[in-house]
Amino acid sequence: MAYRSKIRNFSIIAHIDHGKSTLADRFLELSGLVRRDKLQKQMLDSMDLERERGITIKSHPVRLVIGDYVFNLIDTPGHVDFSYEVSRSLAACEGAILLVDATQGVEAQTVAHAYKAMEHNLAIVPVINKIDLPSADVEGTKRAMAQLLGKDDIDPVLVSAKEGIGIQELIDRLIEDIPAPEGDENAPLQALVFDSFYDTYKGVVSVVRIFNGQVKVGDRIRFWASGLESEVTEVGVFSLKMVPTDRLEAGDVGYVAANIRDIREVPVGDTMTSAIRAATAPIPGFSSMKPMVFASIYPTENEDFERLRESLKKLQLNDAALVFEPETSEAFGPGFRCGFLGLLHMDIVRERLEREFDLDLILTSPNVEYHVLTRSGEYIEVRNPSQFPDFSEVELVEEPYVRGTIVVPSEYIGSVIQLCEGRRGKMLHMEYISEQRVLLEYDLPFAEIITDFYDQLKSVTRGYASFDYEHTGFKEADVDKIEVFINGKRLDALTLLAPKSEVLRVARQVALNLKHTIPKQLVEVVIQVKAGGRIVARETVKPLRKDVLAKCYGGDVSRKKKLLEKQKAGKKRMRQFNQVDIPQEAFLSVLKADTE
């Protein structure tokens, strides 16, 4: 009990670039885990991709001993694709720092995450960062935070994470405001798995928060949802590295390894208990991670298919949210239909396949899942538009919706409303969170979000809008199928669904976008787009008549060779169909409003 009273489990809720990583670095220094001069920029982001993109994808807890207190800082993923994991990470905490940049104010992601923290009844410690900057608006930020938290007034900790100002005061506030974990170390084991990863030597490592009981090497454990039982081979805590300990008990955050090979058997959010003396109930709130965005991946060369399968399997070892199943396209032959949490997740998977596994791929344009009820009463989940049943047999179609949160300077309200309504959005709520900034909430079809919504939003608000969303369920949809024919043959991998009211416009845009992205070929390329059962758009790409370097003398040899090399490299990332080379950009372009 005395031990537990000195533990504080907390997260940091912050928008990108509001200083979360810098603040975490200050905590690491204070605990003596790293010296400031040894600090790698943003210590906690371990993947190269994370550092490059300046985002956190995986949750990384770290145990900080400061004075005679133990602080478990549970870092949360910083992107909406991983919001389920955010919610599970928050469930592992008693409190959260709500960190807002005094020069930027409250953003959409801050709002979404703060709501989640409140749903979990976390003690929230408001912190205003970057108070040392000349453009800091501490008073305005404070008012916006109070409004967000539904309070008349708050007492924020004022810090500059970069300069180390206010950090000690913040530590005191964490001790004061965040309750110590409750729980009974003698009760049956009840631990929340809020993350897991694959380690070559240890197998699947579960990252856990122990709510009741304890766990040590040799214990037999059971996972509630998957039913998997196994024997614990190692337990420990996260200092910067994994440090084995004798045991973990109620209140602790740490890891458990139990010789498990398949990460899908340890789903994030599941409850770990004892196989011998099981808890009476799981920790509430578990749901299995569901892919929301679907796309097909084909190797540019058919012989790479097996290598693609192996690479996807390897990625899945560490990424339980990635799902894939083999499929065969009439046009491209064997490939995989993959499911992702969102666009960023999809992008990361593609980039890792290309970088870490050196694969040359074609990724089709992403789509959402549709629920279809046929006239014969059959219910189908359609994840690939080309497999959409004949419309004459369709009774009802449903598509997924999200509740989108947008925070934007008030001068852009008009453009944002126009954009959202153009995307079939319905306004749910609008509120001024400060004199200049507005919070908008919209009910939006998810299909509209996964095209270029975010790009458009950034563009109509000059980059000032922030955006977050949460999935709300399925609603009736009125869609039509758009199919593409290249020189008379259907390219099934380019099939899309669009709202019936928009289908003509979209079909014409698809034809134009393809015309602009398919390079000239040896033959004329005729692009036809079919919607509502007939061809509604037609474009042609004139044939290439010559491809020749006219001048090549002594002075040009190396320059001209480089040109040829570049030209040859450009042929990669293209896939042949019906004697036409289709580049990756063609697939990415189809759903764009305009490629010009």
Binding site: R545, L549, K551, G554, G555, V557, L564, K568
Partner: protein, 349 residues
């Protein structure tokens, strides 16, 4: 193997709006003198006799007669000595100077006045061209695909050249390079000059010219020896800013900057923009690409085996396999359709 020298004179009377070569118009006299002195001193280091000499530019005669008289005595002897001329250089008073050369390459481009207006170039009279034809081996550069140029104008140019008996004709489609005045006018232009190029080929080959390289046509016995050194990937020295040489497996390019060139040469520290020692594979690759430009000769097995090795020929055969743009025969590899030379050459990149 033949050996040549390319001398680049980086001066011109007036920069043409499509030109992306290194040349300076209206350079101060002082710089012309410095350049001349440096070239004269550099020529002292050269072999006294080579197979070919080619003086290009810029416009070589923009250097001025008196400066040329300083350079001429030190130029190496050669079987073929070519100098490039602009239409305005073709006049009797220049003949004594030109007599030091065996071959003249004249930048005629077109005889059509409206085309020349677009190109901002002067017209060469037929009579003046005739004066040259009696005394020298002559090449005429001509251009097709110029905005506003008609098919008839191209044909008329060709008829004139053939009728005058010009023994060597180079035909280039207009290329619009970034950084030239043409770029801002014509970069969006949709070029479709393939038909023109095919018409040119048909006309000239029907009139006794061999289409021996992608852009070059010659009557028997009039192919350019110097340029064939490039296409045979043989050795050549280079002098002058931005000029490139290839000697002993090293490809080098002088700095494209007159001041740096002159200063470097004076200090005995030559300024190169590029200096690459080519590996065996790189040499073979460049050899293949360059020889492929010779439409009938192509990449010849006996030459590859003599210069590289037997396995080199086999390697090239393997690289050529499956490339639909190549003709693979027992003893040579040639390009099937020269309009798609790049696709063919990709096999050896």
């Amino acid at each position: 193997m033949n050996k040549g020298l390319y001398l680049h004179i980086p001066f011109c009377y007036q920069k043409c709006p499509f030109c992306d070569y290194y040349s300076i118009s209206h350079a101060p006299e002082e710089w012309l003198d410095k350049f001349t002195a440096v070239i004269v001193s550099q020529l002292q280091e050269f072999p006294r006799e080579l197979d070919t000499l080619y003086v290009g530019g810029g416009t070589p005669l923009a250097l001025g007669k008196s400066r040329w008289e300083k350079i001429l005595p030190d130029l190496p002897k050669a079987r073929e000595r070519t100098i490039e001329l602009n239409p305005e250089d073709v006049k009797k008073e220049n003949f004594p100077l030109l007599e030091n050369f065996t071959r003249l390459s004249v930048g005629v481009q077109s005889f059509s006045e409206s085309v020349l207006r677009t190109l901002q170039r002067e017209k060469l009279d037929y009579g003046k061209l005739l004066d040259l034809l009696g005394k020298w081996d002559v090449n005429v550069d001509s251009m097709v695909g110029i905005p506003g140029q008609t098919r008839e104008e191209v044909l008329r140019d060709l008829v004139s050249l053939v009728a005058l008996g010009v023994p060597h004709i180079s035909v280039y489609p207009l290329e619009v390079h970034q950084g030239t005045p043409f770029w801002s006018h014509y970069s969006e232009w949709e070029w479709d000059d393939a038909d023109l190029l095919l018409m040119v080929e048909k006309f000239l080959t029907e009139h006794g010219y061999e289409h021996y390289e992608i852009s070059n046509y010659a009557r028997p016995g009039h192919q350019c020896l110097h340029n064939k050194i490039y296409w045979h990937d043989e050795e050549y020295y280079a002098l002058g800013p931005s000029a490139s040489g290839y000697v002993n497996g090293v490809r080098y390019k002088w700095v494209s900057n007159l001041k740096l060139y002159v200063e470097g040469a004076k200090l005995g520290e030559p300024n190169y923009e590029e200096y690459m020692v080519l590996s065996w594979e790189e040499q073979l690759s460049e050899y293949a690409i360059m020889n492929l430009r010779l439409l009938n000769e192509g990449i010849r097995r006996t030459e590859v085996e003599k210069r590289f090795s037997e396995s080199a020929w086999n390697l090239l055969l393997k690289q050529a396999e499956g490339n639909d743009f190549l003709n693979i025969e027992l003893d040579k590899i040639t390009v099937k359709n020269w309009l798609f030379f790049n696709r063919a050459a990709e096999a050896f990149v």
